[in-house]
């Protein structure tokens, strides 16, 4: 299953990449492959912007604007004037995950 095309913010800087392979391990959608000592993005539209690759890249080669891909969370954010938030833990009844 794939979501909307040409919309995700994932970026990989090949100059910084050392090919350690951590991104390929943590990605839940197999977006990366390691080839000739560097990571490559196979199909960027598979990315869900969870951010696992970026925070686990110790060479800062990956950037992505990560967050909850959740309509209720985005509505919460707009209504409360904050960043999108699922509010899974607060007192609110909203629970999207």
């Amino acid at each position: 299953m794939q979501y909307l095309r040409n919309v995700v913010t994932l970026k990989l800087d090949n100059n910084l990449c050392t090919g350690c392979g951590m991104c390929a391990i943590v990605c839940p959608h197999a977006v990366f492959e390691i080839n000739k000592g560097k990571a490559h993005i196979i199909d960027i539209d598979d990315c869900m912007e969870c951010g696992a690759c970026a925070i686990n890249c110790r060479f800062d080669a990956i950037s992505v604007k990560s967050g909850v891909g959740c309509a209720a969370g985005i509505l919460n954010g707009i209504l409360n004037g904050t960043e999108p938030s699922c509010d899974c833990t607060g007192d609110g009844k909203a629970s999207c995950c």
Partner: protein
């Protein structure tokens, strides 16, 4: 610290480190059902800290888990015949993936738990196994820097943990991928349905009242005799958006969830209009309303799905929300007009 244990099988057996069974009891299964239907969901936590499964020793693996009881139960259920430690970290009762996204299953929390439980005195090796889905909150290299423990990411699903351990801490590519089969989607329906129940009742109540409108004023008999069509449409819109669109998620070629829901709303409209005899105007008005409801409900399912991105949902909502509001407003106005003419 976290809430007290509320399940008998999880009460500490040894004095220092509690042992838990890899078998689930009836109370565990009933608890899971209650969570699915939103009864007392916010209290489904277990105490954070170190637990034993089987008879682990200083060489045994350490698995890290969230303190959401469903996550913990799924993990221990899959540890049959293994001797391992489970390090439960306080994620405020939230499952692994969501807690990682929000930072509760994060680097700092993992580091703190390793230190609080004096893990370095309990095991001789220096490895911990984290669930792969915690990777959006835990930077493995930082855990290593701060504790000396190498954080390995295990498989996505607990059912693969045995194979992962037996293969010498190696996951196959399939174990690394998140899937979203119909069975998993079906499990989420009840939560979404219960979350929306008040909106559903409110909408049905409003249209029950509107049905009694007449150019001569308000007629109770008319309210009872003509409210069936709008009530079926509204309830149908909920079912189409929450149940049908969700179950058949990949079957509809549109990528935007709002469109997937709208598609089923349209099918419902055609179906109901051909089955129940109403005026042209009322048929159109209820079609607009059930399409709007179905579209909104399915759009909300982006939060439960495992593959939607923040950027994508924002892009979709930019056009979908105005269209949903417009449809429901226009539909309501046309419905009232249909009653007055």
């Amino acid at each position: 610290m976290a809430n007290l244990l509320n399940v008998q099988s999880l009460r500490p057996i040894s004095v220092s480190i509690p042992t838990v069974s890899s078998k689930l009891e009836l109370s565990d299964l009933l608890g899971a059902l209650k969570v699915r239907f939103g009864i007392g969901r916010n209290n489904y936590t277990i105490t954070s800290g170190l637990y034993k499964v089987g008879k682990p020793d200083s060489q045994s693996d350490v698995l890290v888990s969230a303190n959401y009881k469903l996550s913990f139960d799924v993990l221990r259920k899959n540890l049959d015949s293994l001797n391992v430690w489970i390090l439960v970290i306080d994620t405020k009762g939230v499952n692994v993936w969501c807690a990682a996204g929000k930072g509760n299953f994060g680097t700092d929390n993992v580091v703190k738990s390793i230190k609080n439980t004096s893990l370095e005195h309990i095991v001789k090796h220096r490895n911990i196994i984290l669930p792969q889905l915690s990777a959006s909150g835990v930077a493995a290299y930082k855990v290593k820097e701060q504790t000396g423990f190498r954080a390995m990411f295990g498989p996505v699903q607990a059912k693969d943990i045995k194979a992962f351990i037996e293969a010498g801490h190696k996951a196959t590519p399939a174990m690394r991928k998140v899937t979203f089969p119909m069975k998993e989607r079906a499990k989420l329906i009840s939560v979404d349905f219960m979350n929306a129940k008040y909106k559903l009742l409110l909408a049905m109540f409003a249209f029950f009242i509107f049905s009694g409108l007449d150019r001569t004023g308000f007629l109770f008999m008319k309210m009872f005799s003509t409210s069936l069509f709008p009530l079926i449409n509204i309830f149908g819109g909920y079912v189409a958006g929450i149940v049908i669109a969700t179950l058949f998620l990949p079957w509809i070629p549109f990528r935007a969830f709002a469109l997937k829901g709208a598609f089923w709303g349209l099918i419902l409209t055609v179906l109901l209009y051909s089955l129940i005899e109403v005026s042209y105007l009322e048929g159109i008005s209820m079609g607009l309303i059930n399409i709007s409801i179905a579209s909104f409900m399915t759009m909300n399912f982006t939060g439960s799905s495992t593959y939607t991105s923040l950027s994508g949902v924002q892009k979709e909502m930019k056009w979908a929300v105005p269209f949903q509001i417009g449809f429901i407003a226009l539909g309501t106005i046309l419905f009232i007009i249909s009653k007055l003419v």
